[in-house]
Amino acid sequence: MFDFPILPRQASTIAGQVDVYFWTLVWLSVILGGTVAIIFLFFFIRYRRGSKVNRTLKSNERRERMIEITWTVLPVFLAIGMFGWSTTVYFNMIRPPADAMEIQVIGKQWMWQIQHSNGHREINELHVPVNQPVKLRMISQDVIHSFFVPAFRIKQDVLPGRYTTLWFNATDVGEYHLFCAEYCGTEHSQMTGTVYVMEPADYEAWLAAEGGTTVTGLEGESLSPEASGAALFDQLGCSGCHKPDVRSVGPALGSIFGTTVELESGEVVTVDEEYLRQSILLPNEHVVKGFAPIMPTFEGQVTEAQIINLIAYIKSLKNPNAGEAPPAEPQPAATEAAAPVETPAAAAEEGTPSAEVGAALFAKSGCSACHSVTGDTLVGPPLNGAFGHEVELESGETVTVDEAYLTESIFNPNAKVVKGFVPAMPPFAGMLSEAEVANIVEYIKSLGDQ
């Protein structure tokens, strides 16, 4: 108890900048505040009742006003200067370098869960390499917390419902306090941890070692976040509507991360982590233009940690050769897909429409997500036995389901919607060629009755 720490350690690239500003402000305060205090005290004593000093006051309204204006304007300039400097340091604090390695943080009452990019998990500890920019992506599972490392001079509130980020570049190997700095309930004082800054070699060794919990797959093998996310993607049925590189019921997700998309509202957004998370939990808020608002919400079915892994998987689709290779295209959960043909497009070019080719296209394009071939009514009408029959449309009109109707329904589906169904089918105009559609129509014809 008897050592007197006065100065916190400086262990990050920003700490020095913050401290220079802090100590400058200390000296300015001591000098300016001290001067005023000393002058006040000096007058207080000098002009005490009974003291024999000159009290002749040559007061003059104009001179007084000049004095007032001077000691109003000068502090304003000083204030603007100090504000400007602080803002510059602040911009450095909030702009992470492009090569920052990302680590996920989940705060919950009353502990910190950290997940590294290879899936390595820690509780209340954060291991990072020295001299490497690190960006934390953080979210809370309950109330507001705050991630605070005094030695780095960084702090950021961790919110429920939304990601917040924080970056730092640790400059000194060592162990540093991690505190929760936003009151969060009973064990707030205990929601503390340690940041371990290690030499790069030590960090690699630690990361590779068995220590720290990793996500495990069904056979007990360790899964990276991307692999874990891939499995979830399948399990939760996402693959039913979202294909990697072709549009289906939902947009293709293969190269979408980081691009901008136009929404139904006309707004243009960037597909970043926050957008993906929102789309999983509140999918019909910001629907991509050209798609129907029919994605179900996964609120309550996925934890924040699982969302992080799903996002990692989607990000990895963009760059399949970076890091862990994603698994082979996940098998759709409940469709009647036949084995995919190597080049359905090439086969389609060969001339006669082929039901076999059409079947493969039917599966690949995601039709089976909404149209059953076994008589079930899903989002769209079942297609077995549909060909040749008459159907009533929403408009009251009756049509025969022939090649022309089927072709039109694929290219421009919402012109003639079958009665009792919603105009939710996306148009495949521009996505499938006429030859491909002919194959699909051939396939539907082949379905007959049962």
Partner: protein
């Protein structure tokens, strides 16, 4: 000179009738509409709540002596700091000066018989008492552990305890502020004595005018915020909780929109007192009357534009943060101007070291530290590190206790003869001021250091390396306790044994000193007429203006 004619009844024949002896009995107090008696009712109430809040403070300081959370369990500690904040802010500081000295003195300083709405004034005290007792009562049967800031979604979805009940108590007593603000503004506009123009008003009046504007514009916002918290908590309607589709940052915006201007409610009246005390005890007019008057208004207005500086790391937009930081730096300027003006006022004055003047001196020193440390928090670069640490705790105690409470005590001593008709014992007053000053610094300066080291606030268990600073702080608090207890005892003593006070013991300017101590029920025997500027102490020597 003032055109007042007072009828001098020789003291030896009878005690002159005044507002204290005109009627006795509980009913005459509890149903009074006399602003002076209502001021006394408030004085008793806020002294009581200061004791309650101080008791919680003692528990906190005792717990913080050791790094382990060993004196109090986490649940109890969290409730303790919550109640310390709620009691001290809502039931002591916000009403303190305006409801006691403001109520008592404002009509007198204006030459009026009472406030514009005397019954509203009494209602304000009842509303305050009912709300405060409800809140303290709910603390006694379990209380809340949300902190006085009751952030959502913790307060709406996770906290146990009596959040809604506590909220209702605070909500009710908030109306007391609104009623007082309405009363003051109406009175200042409409009931000034003949000849008392705006720029002849004492600066105490200007300070209360600015405070009243904040009270009536800001308090409704926190009232509604409390209601929204209760609505979300009880009915599950999503406003702040993301699980229900709400936004937790919205809560913070609504809360701080009041709570930042509230801190100006908690300092402006004190600054008004300092202007009165410093002029009287240096026998000089204030330097730069207009600048001081307008600086109070500037603080009130700009003070409504800076609330986001409590939210720099909350997740609000960085660009919003930058604007709030800029305005925060600007709002410091009017306060600085006041300090410069007070310094220039005592220049070539004729200074008496009375207890009020020593308290004013203590105020200057402590307010300088408190105000300057606000700049560290207004700059985002340092605020990121310092926010939610003990640095903030030290900062606001320096301005609220070192500033406002010292100014309040200065005013209490200064007008004690007028209010009670008795002099307090001068030497005890000076001793208490000095002891408080040293005890205060000893308590709170170490907290700046431990905050910069990174110790978070609201922790009762902490790393051992911070202990030395917490021990020093607690030692200081025991000295401060003595400093604050002393006035309680000698002021009470003076009621029976204090020297009887003349009308104007300090030979001060100001209409309140032109009537007897204690004053008659309707303040003046005849409405005064004002023909002179404020603080018209004869200048010791004034030479003709020379063009510079």
């Amino acid at each position: 000179m003032l055109g007042t004619k007072s009828i001098n009844v020789p003291q030896k024949f009878k005690e002159k009738e005044n507002y204290l002896n005109v009627a006795y009995g509980l009913k005459s107090w509890l149903l009074t509409t006399d602003h002076k008696r209502i001021g006394i009712l408030y004085l008793i109430s806020i002294s009581f709540f200061f004791t309650v809040g101080g008791f919680y403070a003692m528990l906190i300081r005792l717990e913080m002596l050791t790094p382990a959370g060993d004196l109090l369990t986490s649940e109890v500690y969290n409730r303790t700091f919550t109640m310390h904040g709620i009691t001290m802010i809502f039931f002591f500081l916000v009403p303190s000066l305006p409801a006691t000295l403001g109520n008592f003195l404002l009509p007198m300083m204006l030459g009026a018989r009472d406030l514009a709405f005397p019954r509203l004034n009494l209602a304000s005290w009842y509303v305050y008492m009912i709300g405060a007792l409800l809140a303290i009562g709910s603390a006694a049967i379990g209380g809340v552990d949300t902190g006085w800031t009751f952030y959502a979604p913790y307060s709406t979805a996770y906290a146990g305890g009596l959040v809604a009940l506590m909220g209702i108590g605070i909500f009710l007593s908030g109306f007391s502020s609104i009623f007082t603000g309405i009363n003051f503004i109406a009175t200042i506009h409409k009931m000034r004595a003949p000849g008392l123009t705006w720029f002849r008003l004492p600066l105490f009046v200007w300070a209360h005018y600015a405070t009243s504007i904040i009270m009536i514009l800001g308090t409704p916002v926190v009232a509604i915020t409390i209601l929204l918290v209760a609505v979300e908590r009880i009915f599950g309607i999503g406003i702040f909780d993301p699980e229900l589709g709400g936004d937790p940052i919205l809560f913070q915006h609504l809360f701080w929109f009041y709570s930042h201007p509230a801190v100006y409610i908690m300092i402006l009246p004190g600054m008004g007192v300092i202007s009165e005390v410093i002029t009287t005890f240096s026998r000089k007019r204030i330097f730069g009357y207009h600048f001081v008057a307008f600086s109070s208004l500037a603080i009130a207005v700009v003070g409504f534009l800076v609330w986001g500086h409590h939210m720099f790391v909350s997740g609000q937009s960085p660009y919003a943060g930058i604007i709030f930081s800029f305005l925060t730096y600007l709002v410091a300027i009017p306060s600085a101007i006041k300090v410069f003006n007070w310094t220039a006022t005592i220049y070539k004055g004729n200074i008496t070291f009375s207890a009020p003047m020593i308290y004013a001196l203590a105020f200057i020193g402590l307010f300088l530290v408190g105000g300057l440390t606000g700049l560290f928090l207004g700059a985002i670069a340092t605020d990121v590190h310092l926010t939610d640490t003990y640095f903030v705790v030290a900062h606001f105690h320096y301005v609220m206790v070192g500033g406002m409470v010292m100014a309040y005590l200065a005013g209490l001593h200064f007008w004690w003869p007028k209010i009670t008709g008795r002099m307090y014992p001068e030497k005890w007053g000076i001793a208490a001021a000095i002891i408080s000053f040293f005890g205060f610094n000893f308590t709170f300066f170490p907290q700046f250091i431990v905050g910069y080291l990174g110790m978070p606030r609201r922790y009762h268990a902490y790393p051992a390396e911070f202990q030395i600073w917490q021990v020093l702080s607690t030692l200081g608090a025991s000295v401060l306790l003595v400093g604050f207890l002393l006035p309680f005892f000698y002021l009470m003593w003076s009621l029976w044994k204090g020297e009887k006070a003349p009308d104007n013991p300090w030979n001060a300017t100001g209409l309140e000193w032109k009537t007897s101590s204690p004053p008659p029920v309707f303040n003046f025997d005849k409405t005064p007429v004002v023909t002179e500027p404020a603080y018209n102490y004869p200048d010791l020597e004034v030479t003709a203006a020379e063009s510079a």
